[in-house]
């Protein structure tokens, strides 16, 4: 087990280095740079811009910038934002909560609804419900998240006026109810794709489980259908779904970014877009690394869980 862990961990580290290099190269080929915001200013001179470039260390060769950045990162220093000099981790930390709240809520919705649809589809195989769920999942995977958000805003905010069109809460009203009210639309929008994925997966997993011997045995013993399903099928199917959760993380992050844009949600997605617009490279790099770590960690945990459950995997 230890050898397995070590090898997976070292692989992950190599991955992170590759990710950081890709990110750094991409940012460095940008012809604009963080001072382009000042290009229109009537009072900024070329000398000012050259001076600030030097102060930010942007006039050094790329590989030195990279090594410098990487060395600091190893020591736990993620650098400082070009906007105001705040430490990058602080900047990201301020936006993590909003994103996690949104992702968490929508994941819970996805699990609940997806599990229900999946199990029902499996137990009522080839029924109208199953057929609609299959087609519906495929359509859900095809709808652009942001467009679904726009349509949602149009119907529920602009036409019906039931739900707020954006923001995480009303200023001066930080109550849980207020948060909840603002959460409904974006989290449903974000969960759409994942309901589709979960339900598909759950359906397959349930079908697999139903055909297994112990379920048949349990059923033969006269345990009720519902209990068999809940205890054995769901219990067995949920485990592999953890793997899926790890694999799904990048797409949840992507969805979150777009959803945050549509709903003016103060999370990491919007921070990323703002930082891109300002060419705030340290923050952009920080977010890239942060999300890469999340994704790799998700995969790693999934692998480990599977390895613990199924020792054969370790040999592979």
């Amino acid at each position: 087990m230890r050898a397995f862990l070590l090898s997976r961990l070292s692989q992950s580290l190599v991955l992170l280095v590759i990710v950081s290099m890709i990110g750094f190269v991409i940012l460095s080929i940008s012809p604009g740079g963080p001072l382009s915001q000042q290009g229109l200013d009537p009072g900024m001179t070329q000398a000012d811009i050259a001076r600030i470039k030097e102060q930010l260390g942007l006039n050094r060769p790329l590989w030195i910038q990279y090594l410098d950045w990487a060395w600091r990162l190893v020591q736990g220093d993620w650098g400082h934002s070009f906007r105001g000099g705040t430490p990058v981790l602080t900047v990201i930390g301020r936006h993590v909560f909003a994103t996690l709240l949104l992702m968490g809520t929508s994941t819970m919705i996805a699990i609940a609804v997806g599990t229900w649809i999946g199990i029902r589809g499996a137990t009522h195989r080839y029924s109208l419900f199953d057929y609609l769920a299959t087609a519906g999942a495929m359509v859900a995977l095809s709808i652009p998240t942001f467009w679904f958000g726009l349509v949602g805003i149009y119907i529920f905010s602009l036409r019906l006026g039931w739900l707020p069109a954006g923001n995480m809460y009303t200023i001066g009203d930080g109550s849980a109810l207020n948060y909840l009210h603002h959460l409904i639309l974006p989290s449903i929008v974000l969960s759409l794709v994942h309901v589709a994925v979960w339900s598909r997966y759950m359906r397959t997993a349930t079908l697999d489980a139903i055909s297994q011997d112990f379920v048949k045995t349990a059923r033969a013993k006269g345990v009720s259908e519902r209990r068999v399903l809940m205890k054995h099928v769901v219990g067995n199917a949920l485990l592999p779904m953890i793997t899926l959760a790890g694999v799904q993380l990048p797409s949840i992050l992507t969805g979150a970014l777009v959803t945050e844009t549509v709903f003016t949600w103060p999370g990491m997605g919007r921070l990323f877009l703002d930082s891109l617009n300002y060419s705030d490279y340290p923050v952009v790099m920080g977010l890239l690394m942060f999300s890469a770590v999340l994704v790799i960690l998700g995969n790693l945990i999934a692998d480990i869980v599977v390895a613990i459950v199924d020792p054969r995997i370790r040999l592979a």
Binding site: S142, T254, L276, A292
Partner: protein
Amino acid sequence: MTALAVSTAPSRWWHSRAAYRFMNHRLALLGLAMITLLTLACVVGPYLLPYDSLNIDLRARFAPPMTGNHYLGTDPLGRDLAARLLMAGRISLLVGFSAMLISIVIGALVGVVAGYRGGWISAVLMRTVDGFLSFPSIFLVLALAAALRPSPLMITVIIALTKWMEVARIVETEVRSLREREFVQASRMLGLSGTHIMFREILPNAMGPIIVAASLTVARAILLEAYISFLGYGIQPPLPSWGNMLNGAQQYLASAPWLAIIPGAAITIAVTSFNFIGDGLRDALDVRNDHI
């Protein structure tokens, strides 16, 4: 020419049976019909409509659908939305299709080489694949699009760059299993070069999964183009694309909702069609693919 005889031995066994199964897949047929219609409309439609997609008429701005000959209404410059939608479709479909082709080529290349060679070559290639997969692709794409001058070609390449990894993985798995099959062993014993074996012997036999991946990749590429263009980093006006038609639409959501609803519906129809087709192909070709 014994090699040829050997290589065709496993034959394209899926040909007839697969076609039959595909034709029985109702959703796939629906998808095929929709995408054929949509493509046809995009190719021919602009010539049939009474308005040119670039014709600006400030007096007719924000006309709702079914105003006069503006079947889908007009945009903020008074241009005919139907004409723009079809012209945009050309771009979006073309970008999606080209991005798919590029990513299939890259992915197949990497997958075949990694799967056949194995060893450190495989390790390096597949870790690079993992590296690219570790980026939430939207972050990567946006960073690239913000850094480069957005042109349709550039957007296509960028999208392809984030979509080839899955193809590579699928192909690699397939090739690794094919590598030990008799016809490959035979080719090797005949002294055929590695390149020949990889691309003449193995690749044709891995076509099933590649075709499935291709149809799903088109769907994702169209979606991704929509995402980037919606965020303002993609295809730039005056060139219309379904994504950038939506870019300005949020501003007019209250006063002219059709500007947002219609292009989004077009995207959904196109992407759904490709997903249906992909699903049908997967069933027909009996490809196991966990990446949905």
